[in-house]
């Protein structure tokens, strides 16, 4: 029975150190090809006609003029007369043509008559939602009424966090060729192993006939798991055009309008507490929308789940806007904002340092000691003791600094994954998985685990991912990939090495249990002079090769992976109280993710998460127009995202202490993308002496809050 468990920390040569990405150079030089870069021979271009109305009935569609346009090879209807359309941007028809311009011109030539119907595109005012708001029913625990009666202090505040989009740098889309009975799909997907079957189902083809090919993906953040309408339509356009490949990627406006959003969350949170800051009761009235299907309650109270008395009411508001998709830590940012902002406001009311209040209440969390130690570490790194001041007590200058914090949690257990390792007689090592690298460094992590196991260098491993012909590996969602591929890689490498030991043991004259793979050699434990180089050992395979599978079974991770992490983020901001502008000074992220495979990309994940949080805290929101029912900022101009100058300093501290390291590999994509928004909002409240209830903290909101304070 081979031994799979990770080597002890002090014996790891590669894992846990900082390594460059193995595909970094090709990405930096542009050699890396994304689906949207492809230009296959004879390739046609697809374009979508989308509905300009937020709510309408299709009266008629006439494609005859479009069909006669130059270069057009096929026109397909997605909607039909009589259909009720529920959001602007919904797909109506698709066209393929020889050039992108021809396809777009042809789309414009399609004549559609709509009967516009009343729409609702804003959910921030629950009163105006009327029957579009559906109450989910009261959730009650303990005796909140009694707890409020006996509370020493009660704090109540309104909060709002809006809809934002994923804004993937590479938009959604694909190149598809449907020739004969075979479909080649070049997607932009988080789900290489699964997307082919999804497309096959829509096309009513046997799943084995769809081949998926993806080297790189330019961002997904939870929005790219399925074949989508544009995948299905591109395939059908290809077939209708005699099997020529069709490229159909969304333009930026369509990407931001229909390719997924993070739902909003609004509501009033009321807390009761003892004088010492111990929270005794939670009450919330919240609502949310992620589009036509409404929006579920975020998991509140967040992290502090064991608050004994609770009353929660939530309404889901259906609006006529593009729908929600998983957005990096679905519903956790909203939950964190509603919870950790309320705790900061309670601390301010008690004139208590929020660090003390959060620590005092850590017993209401599932991991009190983890959070207390993470809070202490973050406080040290941001110099909290020296810099913190009571809310609003920030000097007479118009530039006011403040500090804030927030906590978060995530599961992140490894998904089901299979890997196949092949060792060739010339020493080449290949590993194949139907996985994907979202930009997180999955390829590199696989190579690190493989090289660690075989005693080789990272560059000795050929990592092959991105084809659904490879052994199936899970979709990259829920921060499940690093655990999944680390487990399957470790096991398949261990199995392959075991087979190699079978071949080499007689040559070295030692039982195979006595062999080890170290520094490019197979040697006898305790007698390293008895060895074969890796090449010499593999040469013993002669005309054969070794091919071995390895599996990560989420139900039986065997110590290689586990789940459940904590993290703390703190922010320091400077607010110009004359302009309402918020400037980031520093963000500190302390994060647990179990055993770390590549410290460099783990830190990069956290940097990226903090940057996304800064965008969402300060500037990012989808702006809907009530009159036209459309998104007004489906662009990179008024859909504001931070640039380098907007970020400030970021300090990342990964928990690598023994008690964390012992847990096995845990996902990291999501947890550090949660707390930053709230930490920043709390820092602004601390700086200016008043809560800005709604993020993003734009100048108009900050100035309005200051005006309320001064009134």
């Amino acid at each position: 029975m081979p031994e799979y468990s990770w080597p002890p920390k002090e014996k790891r040569r590669l894992m846990g150190k900082r390594h460059d990405r193995i595909d970094g150079l090709e990405k930096a030089t542009g050699k890396a090809k994304y689906g949207s870069d492809l230009n296959l021979p004879g390739m046609l271009h697809g374009a979508l006609l989308t509905c300009p109305h937020a709510h309408a009935r299709v009266v008629s569609i006439d494609t005859s003029a479009a069909e006669r346009m130059p270069g057009v090879t096929a026109v397909r209807l997605i909607a039909k007369a009589g259909d009720e359309i529920q959001w602007a941007g919904a797909e109506i028809a698709a066209v393929s043509a020889k050039t992108e311009e021809q396809a777009r011109d042809a789309v414009k030539a399609i004549q559609v008559q709509y009967e516009p119907l009343p729409h609702l595109v804003h959910e921030h005012d629950l009163q105006k939602a009327g029957p579009r708001a559906k109450a989910a029913g009261e959730v009650l625990e303990g005796d909140p009424d009694e707890a409020f009666k006996t509370a020493d202090v009660i704090s109540e505040q309104m909060y709002g966090i809006p809809v934002i989009t994923h804004c993937c740098l590479e938009p959604h889309g694909n190149v598809v060729r449907w020739q004969g009975d075979k479909v080649d799909l070049y997607p932009s997907t988080q789900n290489v192993s699964g997307i082919g079957g999804d497309l096959a189902k829509s096309l009513e083809l046997p799943a084995a006939q769809v081949a998926v090919h993806q080297d790189h993906i330019g961002g997904g953040f939870g929005s790219k798991f399925v074949a989508d309408r544009w995948g299905v339509e591109a395939a059908r356009l290809s077939k209708a055009s005699g099997g020529a490949p069709v490229k159909l990627f969304l333009d930026r406006a369509t990407e931001l309008t229909i390719a997924g959003v993070r739902p909003s969350a609004y509501g009033v949170v009321k807390l009761g507490a003892k004088k010492d800051g111990t929270v005794t009761v939670w009450e919330s009235r919240t609502w949310a929308s992620g589009g036509f299907t409404g929006g579920n309650s975020p998991p509140i109270p967040y992290v502090f789940t064991r608050i004994p008395n609770k009353r929660q009411n939530h309404s889901a508001v259906s609006i006529n806007a593009g729908g929600a998709r998983a957005w990096r830590a679905p519903n956790h940012q909203q939950a964190c904002y509603l919870t950790c902002s309320a705790l900061e406001d309670l601390a301010a009311k008690l004139k208590m340092d929020p660090v003390e209040l959060f620590k005092k209440n850590a017993d209401w969390t599932p991991r009190p000691e983890v959070y207390r130690s993470q809070i202490d570490k973050a406080a040290e790194l941001i110099d909290w003791k020296k810099k913190w001041h009571p809310r609003g007590d920030s000097g007479s200058s118009h530039l006011k600094r403040g500090l804030g914090l927030a906590l978060h949690t995530w599961q992140g257990g490894g998904h089901a994954s299979q890997a196949r390792t092949t060792i060739h007689a010339d020493g080449t090592v290949e590993i194949e998985l139907g996985s994907q690298d979202l930009g997180t460094g999955t390829r590199t992590a696989i190579a690190i685990v493989a090289a660690e196991t075989l005693g080789l260098r990272i560059q000795d491993i050929r990592v092959k991912i991105g084809e659904n012909a490879y052994p199936p590996s899970g979709a990259s969602g829920g921060s499940t990939t690093i655990g999944g591929v680390s487990g399957s890689t470790r096991r398949s490498m261990t199995h392959a090495l075991d087979k190699l030991f079978d071949v080499v043991a007689p040559v070295l004259g030692a039982p195979k249990e006595q062999l080890e793979a170290v520094d490019g050699k197979i040697q006898v434990k305790g007698n390293p002079a008895k060895n074969l180089t890796w090449q010499a050992a593999c040469a013993k395979l002669g005309m054969n090769k070794i091919s071995e599978m390895g599996t990560n079974d989420p139900k039986n991770p065997g110590g290689l992976t586990s789940a459940g992490v904590g993290g703390v983020q703190m922010a320091e901001v400077e607010v110009d109280t004359e302009t309402g502008l918020v400037r980031m000074i520093k963000t500190v992220a302390v994060q647990d993710c179990g055993t770390i495979v590549n410290l460099k990309t783990a830190e990069s994940q956290t940097y990226g998460s903090v940057i996304m949080s800064i965008c969402a805290a300060l500037m990012e929101e989808r702006i809907m127009d009530a009159q036209t029912g459309r998104v007004l900022n489906p662009d990179m101009e008024f859909y504001k995202l931070a640039g380098i100058g907007d970020i400030g300093e970021i300090v990342v501290y990964m928990n690598m202490e023994k008690e964390y390291d012992d847990r096995g590999v845990i996902g990291l994509g999501e947890p550090p993308a949660i707390g930053g928004i709230t930490a920043i909002a709390n820092a602004v409240a601390n700086a200016i002496g008043v809560r800005v209830s709604h993020v993003p903290l734009t100048p108009e909101r900050v100035l309005a809050a200051l005006e309320r304070r001064n009134a």
């Binding site: 004359e578 008024f638 100058g645 100035l703």
Partner: protein, 326 residues
């Protein structure tokens, strides 16, 4: 994208002959940072695009003792890095650097900055320059107007002038030269920007058969620009102010304060000008001037905050200019 004819003439006369008598017949291409997106979005569908980057006489910056001539195809980067601009016209340099994208500063031109179309999202979304619904009512007053005008906004125009250089050029009393096949004419910068009264009008004095060839800017005044932008990365100012001060000793002899991004044109704040005459600029004086500059503001439903931002811009621009040596 609508198919179009492309021409790249070598001389101004050749270029002028390629223009149309009406808008929509031909568009002039310089840096293309605005025109290309207008065309991609279907807001402009010119039948012909006339590239003027190859016309030598439209480039270059030349200084005389009393003024600086800036060619229309001078890029924002060239403008910002020009020694004479650095020394004598910091209001222009600051405004150019306020376009916080090196790529756009490298491509975008002075003429393009002055002729670019408004960023109003209703206009860019296909509702016309005056953003009217099918009943002819403007979408702006009851719509999302947080980036719209707080001055000169009695309608039908509610957009803000997007020009970065406009406020400084108006404050400095610059002259803009426009050429056509019939000759050239000179327009004061203050008269170059126009508030359109109908959808068929444009927001500048430029005619469809004209090319903006150069800007002549007087020197000798203290001047400064201050922009309030939410982001350090590329972002439009929420409000801006440019000031030019003629000094007599330590006191202001005459002042011109012009607001940007708050009205359909760069907005001369004449009440501030009057208030400043004869005063020495202190923090209090700058505050008073700022209040005077915005006294007539009529914010819409969502943009009252811009009044405060514009005041701050005036105050900070005045304090900056007062420090200057030019």
């Amino acid at each position: 994208m609508h198919a179009f004819e492309y021409a790249s003439p070598a001389t101004l006369q050749d270029a002028l002959k390629l223009l149309g008598q009406q808008w929509g017949q031909a568009d002039v291409l310089a840096g293309g940072t605005d025109l290309l997106s207008l065309m991609k979005d279907g807001v402009h569908t010119p039948r012909r695009v006339v590239n003027i980057k190859g016309i030598k006489e439209l480039g270059g910056i030349q200084a005389s003792g009393t003024s600086v001539r800036i060619g229309a195809t001078v890029t924002l980067d060239e403008l910002a890095e020009s020694p004479v601009i650095r020394k004598s016209l910091p209001a222009l340099r600051t405004a150019a650097l306020g376009v916080t994208s090196p790529q756009i500063r490298n491509m975008g031109t002075v003429g393009g900055d002055l002729c670019q179309r408004p960023r109003c999202w209703y206009f860019r979304g296909g509702h016309g320059l005056l953003a009217r619904d099918k009943n002819g009512q403007s979408l702006v007053p009851n719509g999302e107007n947080k980036y719209h005008a707080i001055l000169g906004n009695r309608g039908p125009a509610y957009f803000v002038s997007p020009s970065s250089l406009g406020p400084a050029l108006v404050a400095l009393g610059a002259t803009i030269k426009l050429a056509s096949t019939m000759g050239t004419r000179e327009v004061e910068a203050a008269r170059f920007f126009v508030t359109p009264a109908s959808d068929t009008q444009r927001e500048t004095a430029l005619m469809p058969y004209e090319i903006l060839t150069e800007v002549v800017v007087p020197i000798g005044m203290r001047n400064a620009t201050y922009e309030v932008r939410q982001k350090q990365a590329l972002d439009w100012p929420l409000a801006a102010a440019a000031v030019a001060l003629k000094m007599k000793g330590t006191a202001v002899e005459s002042a011109r304060v012009v607001l940007g991004h708050v009205a359909p044109t760069p907005w001369p704040a004449t009440q501030a000008d009057q208030m400043l005459a004869g005063k020495t600029i202190t923090g209090d004086v700058a505050e008073q001037a700022a209040r005077a500059a915005l006294a007539d503001a009529t914010p819409l439903s969502q943009n009252a905050y811009k009044v405060q931002l514009a005041r701050v811009a005036v105050k900070r621009a005045l304090l900056e200019a007062a420090k200057g040596r030019a």
